[in-house]
Symmetry: C2
Amino acid sequence: MNVDGQQGRRPRADVQRNRAALLETAQRHFLQYGVGTSLEAVAKEAGVGPATLYRHFPTREALLAAVLQTRSEEFVARRADIEQLGDAAEALERWLRAMEEYLSAYSGLPDPLMAAARAQDPDNPLTIPCDVLIAATDAYVRAAQRAGRVRASVRGHDLFLAACSVAWIKGTGTEETSVDRLRALIASGYRERDTQA
Amino acid sequence: MNVDGQQGRRPRADVQRNRAALLETAQRHFLQYGVGTSLEAVAKEAGVGPATLYRHFPTREALLAAVLQTRSEEFVARRADIEQLGDAAEALERWLRAMEEYLSAYSGLPDPLMAAARAQDPDNPLTIPCDVLIAATDAYVRAAQRAGRVRASVRGHDLFLAACSVAWIKGTGTEETSVDRLRALIASGYRERDTQA
DNA sequence: GCCGTATACGGAGGCTGCATCCGTTTTTTG
DNA sequence: CAAAAAACGGATGCAGCCTCCGTATACGGC
């Protein structure tokens, strides 16, 4: 039993192949059917037995976390873009949108994420990505607050919850215009009152 | 096949007994395990076979709708209380809280409700309760707007979505203080700026 | 009060998905 | 190239969904 623990021996070739195939297939299935998709189907389409899937990713959350991990590279790139902006309020706005899109990539994603965020369960592989998101949001919020563009009582965690909510709504299949309206409502809740775009 | 269609014959006694037992048991199970609870378990505990449950309530949504129906009497009573208030903004506030509690009564309830609200699917038994809630919210919103306490751009549907979001968050097990903060954030989004409590 | 029939019941069973065990195959190492 | 380590995957047990159909039950007329 090695799979991806780092011991003396070099990881076997088939392990890497299978892992890659599983991740690629899972990504596609999550995209098409949501995070509740059949893991058996994923395994079959990846050309491996169910046991192999479970050996690589003991739980659905572990598989999800691994898929998100590969996805997050592109996400980090976005973050670099955002940080070049001088306007802190605009940066926060864009960050929230980016996070929202990240969270609504797969239908049903917000639920396991919230479950992980709730308690600091170190066994849950989604806890870390979650904490990262909250910390980043908080940084953007503080910057915008220093610029006097966001109300002082707001915290990063609040807007993380808000983004999760919006992402959840999107995942239920609600029309885009309704989602836009909700987002606007929230925005006018955290923006400083005398703000002028 | 009669179950509850109104024909010439009087409904059989066991039908009514079973229906009542199923509703009572389902209510308890939804409360304890959420809307995803095992229907087989509900049937067994109600003392009937699975087929009887499905005969009375062809889908999970139908059972849920029926349970909510019985629950809604108590909800209507609340509404009468609220309407005695002279303050339209306070009335809206209380209505939103009441709706939020209604929506978070069973964990996972917001999801099927949103699915029903999305498209006017007349086959979905949850569509009607959903539309009722939206219409009622809209009435409260208009009243508060006439009193100049809520921003003109806000619609009842927006606050319905917001209430669903908050209820969803509650259902994920998030701490109550975080939920309170999110609710406050949303409130400062729809309230008129120069409002004084 | 009894019987015939409409009506409803419920166990059995097919199906899908989850998760694990263990005999077999593949890969690496020397 | 052989032995050992490592991973594979089919088979399996379990739970829940939903339906079919033979059986039981309540109703209403007599």
